[in-house]
Amino acid sequence: MNKKVLQAKQLEYHYGLKGVNLTIHSHEKIALIGINGAGKSTLLKILAGILEPDRGEVYLHDTALKKMKRRQFVKKIAWLSQMDNPSPDFLVEDYIALGRMPFRYPPNALQDKEALQFAIERCQISGLLGRKLGELSGGERQRVFLARCLVQTPDILLLDEPTNHMDLKTKIEIVSVLKDLPITVVCIVHDFHLISHFFERVILLDKGRIIKDGIIKDVLFSNEFQNVFRLKTHIVKVDDGTEEFIFRSYVS
């Protein structure tokens, strides 16, 4: 359960990253946070093998990513882009079926069909089949994108702002789905309430460096967090007995 699945060693990237070290264990649910331009997307892209680091190395299960076959790698890791621009004429079912590409494609085997079924159900997109991507609302589209990643049945999900465009209800549902998946999930999320309920571990990035990495409470109450975001974190008790973090801007 606590195996290291993904490791980054001294990653550097000419824009964005300056010496990032990171170890991710299996089944962890990690939130990557940081202000805009901190280098979150860059880091995620490097972890997903989309960008090659200028220096440093990514290891998947102790194998250097450089030395892995891309075909093997993509069976293990799915990545969701922050701003995607697929052709608007793509049919939803064709699009999510792309997730089967690393395996056999077009999807035929039982396993493939199950993966598709699972993703469609969890992302609640059965109503969208047969439509074109260009005809969907923002949240619907985002769910379709996410479904594509789930169809890929990866061991590790690297998601760049997966809850973008989603309303709060959908957000919660989708993140619960992610939480319940028996795989490793790394998400970039800007919604700290959501993070506090669903993610165990939070990594705070600033100016291309990891400046804090730990369990949710530690990070949110750390000086680094409060400085970077210029926020003060409070904790309150809700009627139903749970707790909730509240963030107050220094200024406003």
Partner: protein, 332 residues
């Protein structure tokens, strides 16, 4: 399955028509008789049918399939609906080679002269294209592909035009005719080449169509799905260049098929990108063979170059589609 039956039936139908119809008028009976006499008979009708019409049918079909398939692959891979094998300089290269042969070479290589010229030309242009696209950088983008293609295309058409200018008084016409395209040079010895060209592109397409569809989801996303984007660019360009070079050398640069047929198929019927490739290929084959039949009957005792008919039929079709309002209004 339905697809295969449809394919088989149209194939037979069109084939039958191709055998019966030609610039020399043969009755149905004569055709059947000639057909049965076999290729080695000294009967002139049998020879016409076996040595001209049958290979011609295959050449027309194969060329149509190959060109349409290339067009659909290239449009997918560059995400540009105006991409086609001929905009990327390939046909200009082939034309330059063929024209050079027409103008300069004293037929040193027999009937293969223009063919060889065309192939050499397209090798040159493809080489130049890859040099431009790759020189000193390891990342290809569709913009760069397009620009490299354009510059190669223009440099070779410059060369062609210069040859024409330089050539004798028949050159202009020979060149123009060659450029319009025709299947009349079909011979059995050509068929293996056409089969090779089309076979390669179809096999490549069947194998990689999915990856090309994935490219439509965005370059990075495709990469994250295991598509080796750079490799796909290169192989697609190589394969389409190679196949089209061979086909162009056999029947001239028939530009319409690769550019329009995929659009036609998309407007007409196919909503799913995944099916576009096979349907386009097939539609391309049918279009060229039907056009070839028409080219033989439209003017008595004379053959209209098939390129003319192909683009006539195709563009009328496209116009009808557009007028019928099946046009897809994607946010562009």
């Amino acid at each position: 399955m339905k697809f295969i039956i449809l394919l088989g039936m149209s194939f037979l139908l069109v084939g039958g028509a191709e055998f019966t119809i030609g610039t020399a008028h043969l009755s149905c009976q004569q055709t059947i008789h000639g057909f049965l006499a076999g290729p080695y008979s000294h009967d002139i009708i049998a020879r016409i049918i076996w040595l001209f019409r049958i290979p011609r049918f295959f050449l027309a079909f194969l060329a149509g399939v190959g060109l349409a398939a290339s067009g659909s692959l290239l449009q997918g891979v560059t995400r540009n609906s105006l991409a086609d094998p001929f905009l990327f300089g390939l046909s200009s290269g082939a034309a330059a080679g063929a024209v050079a042969m027409i103008v300069f070479a004293n037929d040193i290589l027999g009937i293969w002269t223009t063919q060889l010229g065309a192939i050499c030309g397209s090798l040159c242009s493809t080489g130049a294209f890859f040099l431009l696209a790759f020189y000193r950088r390891n990342v290809l983008s569709s913009d760069r592909i397009i620009l490299s293609g354009l510059s190669v295309s223009f440099i070779f058409s410059t060369i062609t035009n210069f040859f024409i200018f330089y050539g004798d008084r028949n050159t202009a016409q020979s060149v123009l005719f060659w450029t319009i395209g025709s299947f009349s040079s079909a011979q059995w010895s050509n068929i293996p080449i056409a089969l090779l060209a089309t076979g390669i592109i179809i096999l490549y397409g069947i194998k990689n169509n999915n990856q090309i569809v994935a490219m439509l989801a965005g370059k990075e996303t495709a990469f994250s799905l295991g598509v080796n984007v750079q490799y796909l660019y290169v192989t697609t360009l190589c394969v389409t260049s190679f196949s089209c070079a061979l086909l162009v050398s056999l029947c001239g640069p028939i530009g319409f098929v690769g550019l329009i047929v995929p659009h036609l198929v998309r407007l007409f019927y196919v909503r799913s990108f995944r099916k576009l490739f096979l349907y386009s290929s097939f539609a391309g084959g049918i279009l060229t063979t039907v056009a070839d039949i028409i080219s033989k009957i439209i003017i008595p005792s004379q053959e209209v170059p098939v390129g003319i008919i192909i683009s006539a039929i195709g563009s009328v079709f496209l116009m009808l589609m557009l007028l019928k309002g099946k046009g897809h209004n994607s946010a562009s």
